[in-house]
Amino acid sequence: MTVPTPNIDNDNRAFWEGVDEGKFLLARCGVCGSWYWPISYCRQAHPAAPFMGDLSWVEGSGRGAVFAFNVHHVALEGWLADRIPYVNAIIELDEGPMFGTNVVDCPTGEVRVGMPVRIVIRDVDGVKLPLAVPAPAGA
């Protein structure tokens, strides 16, 4: 069984189009420059901003650190059978937002909260996905 495709809707289409082009995009407020993911009205609530508060999709640094993680030891669906054990994590991006993805290129037993990571775009069985890989400080 193949990897399920992400659910692409009108709020996140630009994000996934960016992923297809190898870019990791975040929503950015055109008024104050705050970063958001997923797309959100700026929490500064700027008055008289245009539709959706003048947000645009801008490439993020892709840098962050593991905020929380788990290790799936059981294949919850058949297509995951040859993938276990795998790590799901919430990444706290340097820009502020949190982003959920897999941590790869790292033995599952070595993943730690606080571990620096960077987001890379990988082709996983024909689906381009933003994944987190270990990124030693300064690397």
Binding site: A68, V71, V74, A75, L80, A81
Partner: protein, 393 residues
Amino acid sequence: MTDLAIVGMGMLTGTQAGRSMRSILAEASRLAIEDAGIDRSQVTAAVEVRSAAGRGGRAGSSDAFPRLLGLPVDFYQPIGRGGTGGAFAVAIAGMLIDRGIANYVVIAGGSLDYSESKRAKSSSGAKGTVRIEPEGYWGRPFGDLRAVSHHSFFASRHMHEYGTTSRHLGLIATQLRDWALLNPQARYYGRPLTLEQYEAEDYLVYPYRRDDVCVMTDGAVAMVVTGADRARDSEHPVSVRGIGFGEAMAQLWWEKRNYTSLAVQNAKQQAFGQAGITLDDIDCVQFYDCFTGEVLLQLEDYGWAGKGEGGAFLESTRIGPGGTLPVNTGGGLMSAYHFGDLTGFSEALLQLRGQATGRQLENCGTALVTGHGGEVLNPGMCSAHSTVVLSTE
């Protein structure tokens, strides 16, 4: 505002294989209406508590339990956002009664997860993981596709920040199991779980083992709500003293405390304020316990333990049978049964009515019933909380 009371309850437990959801809700409602000592013709409003309501367009299904049972309802709505629907249904009942739209409101919820998962012959068969989440969440390609896939983040973060251990989670799982051993209707009745057994279990989704995850069962609960004036004639009225709601969604993914605490504060303040009570007034606690982590967080967020001190609290205070803080006295979602959002209500009502055979608390006058849920996969995660205070007076 009319004071509310719950005057009837009906429960169906055990496998319901071969039955429809609407038929088990109708049957639980029939039992609740009989228990209330009223006639079906008096029930003119019905609320169905679902795990998720209204998917698939304007109508969620082709038939409804009030039609099946023949309730002459002027009002019927399915509601559902997973976890807090019981409190919401009682709030709706209050509005209907306040405005004179109905005198008696039946609230029903249930699950066929156990028999449907058997029928689907799911690949893993792992406890509590077979439930099919809605298609199309963006977390799916990352293998984030069951409640356990992301709820374990709560425990992961709490362990990191506060040094909470697997043993602490085990103290919750084993003590709720101890309650289930006293409840013949519980899924895990007759199947003890020691801390040693728990700690020897493989991880399902680290840091959660199989017994950190709620059960998957069939069953249904219904209750009849009316105004306090009408409740005076009923055999065992239970007063709804307070209802409260809290929400963390506006802060999700920026306010990073929401992985170590739930949106309890406002919900508690509203409900306890209406009831005029403090923690010391609560005789039994029915937490929404989809995972052990939720119990830990609520012990802290309600204030029985300081933030981050839930583990130490569990080392010194028993929440199982004979303990000073009885939590989920029927075994809870963890070890007894998952009636959607109504498991806590069912056990609170049994305790307050003195009908919790084999596990009845002495002098149980006031009960806390909580709900926890909301959107369940990336990026939103269970941001909703509800608090209900019930009492015998």
